[in-house]
Amino acid sequence: MLEVRNIAAGYGPVRVLRGLSLTVRPGEITCLLGRNGAGKTTAMKAIMGLLPLSGGQVLLDGEDIGRLPAHEVPRRGIGYIPQGRRLFADLTVAQNLEIGMRCRKSPPEVRDRVLAMFPRLADRMGQRAGTLSGGEQQMLATARALCLAPRVLLLDEPTEGLQPSMIALIRDTVLRLRDEGVAILLVEQRLDAVLATADRAVILETGAVRAEADAARLRTDPDLLRRHLGV
C-alpha cells in the first residue's frame, strides 16, 4: 500500500504541493483529478522521488521512501508511466524494455508476459522507439513499466492523444493489473474513463486534496466530478 502523508514539494521557490495526503491500496484504482496546475503531475514526480520533498512522508508498505535517492524508488517496486510517455526515443523497443527489466533484475518470464499483453511490440523489437506510432509508444511505455513487475503503478494521462481502440486496450490492461492486485494511481482528464475505471477519485486543488469519493458515489452522482472540476 502506498500512503502519501502531508507532502509538500515544488520547483525551486514555487510550492506546488501543500500538504497532499492520499492512499493507494492494492487491487484498487485511485484516480487523481484536478484542473491544470492543481499538482497532479507534481504529485506523481514527488512520489517517484524526482522532486525533493520539503515536508511530509511517502510510505510504501510502511517504509518511508520519501527521502530515498530517486533511483531507489522504482527498485522498491513502483512503476511509472510519465505524461508524454518519455520513451528513450533513440533506443529500440527491446532496449527500452531491457531498461525496465534491469531495474529490479526481473526474470525473463516477466518480459514474455508483458509481450503477451502487447503482442504488437514483439514484432517491433528492433525498431527505434521514436519511430513507433502514438499508440505503440503508449504500449511500450506501459510495457516498460510493467517489466519492473511493479507493486504500485503510477500512470500520468496514459490515454492522452490516443484513438478509441488504443484507449480501450490501455483501460483493459489497467483493469487487469488492478485485478491482479497492483495498486494503481491514475491521472486522467477524461471523465468517462474515470467513471469506467476508478475505484476512488481524489480531487486536487492548489496542491491539496479538495474532495474524495468512492466508485459507488462517482456512479450515482457523476455531477460530483463536474462540480469540483468545473467541466
Binding site: A70, E72, V73, R75, E98, G100, R102
Partner: protein, 311 residues
C-alpha cells in the same frame, strides 16, 4: 621527393595526429553527450597522462632497467590515475553544483588551473621526453610509372616509425572498444538512456549520479591515454593541455556534440588536413583553416556533421 610520396608522408603524419585527437575528443564528446557538461579541464587530463607517463616510465625504468616495461606501466596506470582523479572531482565538485551547465563550466575552469599549477609545482616547467618502447623506421614503397609500366620504388625519406603505426592501431582499437561498450553492453545502454532522458532514467532505477561519475572518469582516462601515446612523439610539458583542448573542441563541434561517430570523422578531417597543410604550407595555416571550418559549421550546420538539430 616527388609530390606523390610527399603527400603520402603528409597523410601518414596527419593520421597520427588524427588518431590521438580522436581519442581525446571522444572523451570530451562522451562527457558532453551524457552529462551535458562542457569540461574545460579536459586538456589537463591529456597533460596529466603525458606527465604521469614520464613519471611512471622513469620510476619503472630506474627500478627494472630500460626496456618497454616503463611505457607499458604508463599505458596501464596513467589513464587509471587520471580517471580516478576525475571521478573524485566529479563527486566533490560537479555533483555539488548539480551538474548545472553554467556552474560546471566555472568549476572545470577552476579544475584546469588546479591541475596545471599542481603539475608545474611537482613536475616543473621543463619539457621531458619518454622513450618509445620500439621505434624502428619502416621504409614505404611508392608506385612509379615508367616506360616499362608501373613498378615499386623506395623513395628516400618516405618512411614511418613502427611506434607511429602502433599509435594509429592502438587508437583505432580503443575507439572500437568504446563503440562496442556504448552499443553492445549493459553499461553502454545505461549511459545512453541517461544521455537521452536523465529524469526517466532515474524513474527506472538508473543511478544517474554514479553514471555521471563513471562517464567523467572514462572521458578523463581517454584524454590521459591520448597523452601517454603522444609523449614519445612530443615531449611532456605542463602547458601542453591548452592546444589539445582547443583542437578537441574544434573536432567535437565539427563532428556534432555528443556523437562518437561524428567525432572520429571530424578528427580524421582535422588531423589529415593539419598534416597535409602543415607539410606543404605551414602549421599556422592549418590552424587557421581548422578554425575557419568550425566557423562554417557553426553558420551552416550548427548541429555538426553527425549531431542532431535541436527541436
Amino acid at each position: 621527393m616527388e609530390f606523390g610520396p610527399h603527400l603520402m608522408l603528409a597523410v601518414l603524419e596527419g593520421a597520427v595526429t588524427a588518431a590521438v585527437l580522436a581519442l581525446m575528443a571522444s572523451g570530451l564528446s562522451l562527457v558532453f553527450g551524457v552529462m551535458r557538461v562542457v569540461n574545460v579541464a579536459h586538456g589537463q587530463f591529456f597533460m596529466l597522462g603525458a606527465v604521469l607517463a614520464w613519471a611512471v616510465s622513469s620510476a619503472v625504468s630506474s627500478a627494472l632497467g630500460g626496456g618497454a616495461f616503463g611505457f607499458v606501466a604508463a599505458v596501464l596506470l596513467a589513464p587509471v590515475i587520471a580517471g580516478a582523479l576525475a571521478v573524485a572531482a566529479d563527486l566533490t565538485v560537479l555533483k555539488r553544483v548539480g551538474y548545472d551547465p553554467e556552474r560546471t563550466i566555472v568549476a572545470t575552469i577552476g579544475l584546469l588551473y588546479i591541475l596545471q599549477q599542481a603539475a608545474l609545482m611537482t613536475y616543473g616547467p621543463e619539457a621531458r621526453p619518454v622513450a618509445p618502447p620500439f621505434n624502428d623506421r619502416l621504409a614505404l614503397p611508392w608506385v612509379a610509372f615508367g616506360p616499362e609500366g608501373p613498378r615499386l620504388i623506395w623513395p628516400w625519406g618516405l618512411s614511418i616509425t613502427s611506434y607511429k603505426l602502433f599509435v594509429m592501431g592502438a587508437a583505432a582499437a580503443v575507439l572500437a572498444g568504446l563503440w562496442a561498450l556504448m552499443t553492445r553492453t549493459g553499461i553502454g545502454l545505461v549511459m545512453r538512456a541517461t544521455q537521452l532522458d536523465r529524469e526517466t532514467a532515474q524513474a527506472f532505477g538508473i543511478p544517474v549520479e554514479r553514471v555521471y561519475a563513471g562517464v567523467f572518469g572514462l572521458g578523463a582516462a581517454l584524454a590521459a591515454l591520448a597523452g601517454v601515446l603522444i609523449v614519445p612523439i612530443q615531449q611532456a610539458h605542463y602547458l601542453m593541455g591548452g592546444d589539445a583542448l582547443l583542437l578537441s573542441f574544434i573536432v567535437v563541434i565539427i563532428g556534432g556534440l555528443g556523437s562518437l561517430g561524428g567525432t572520429v570523422i571530424a578528427a580524421l578531417l582535422i588531423g589529415l588536413s593539419d598534416g597535409i597543410v602543415s607539410v606543404f604550407f605551414s602549421p599556422t595555416l592549418a590552424k587557421i583553416l581548422a578554425t575557419l571550418l568550425v566557423a562554417l559549421v557553426l553558420v551552416f550546420r550548427p548541429e555538426g556533421l553527425r549531431g542532431k538539430a535541436a527541436r
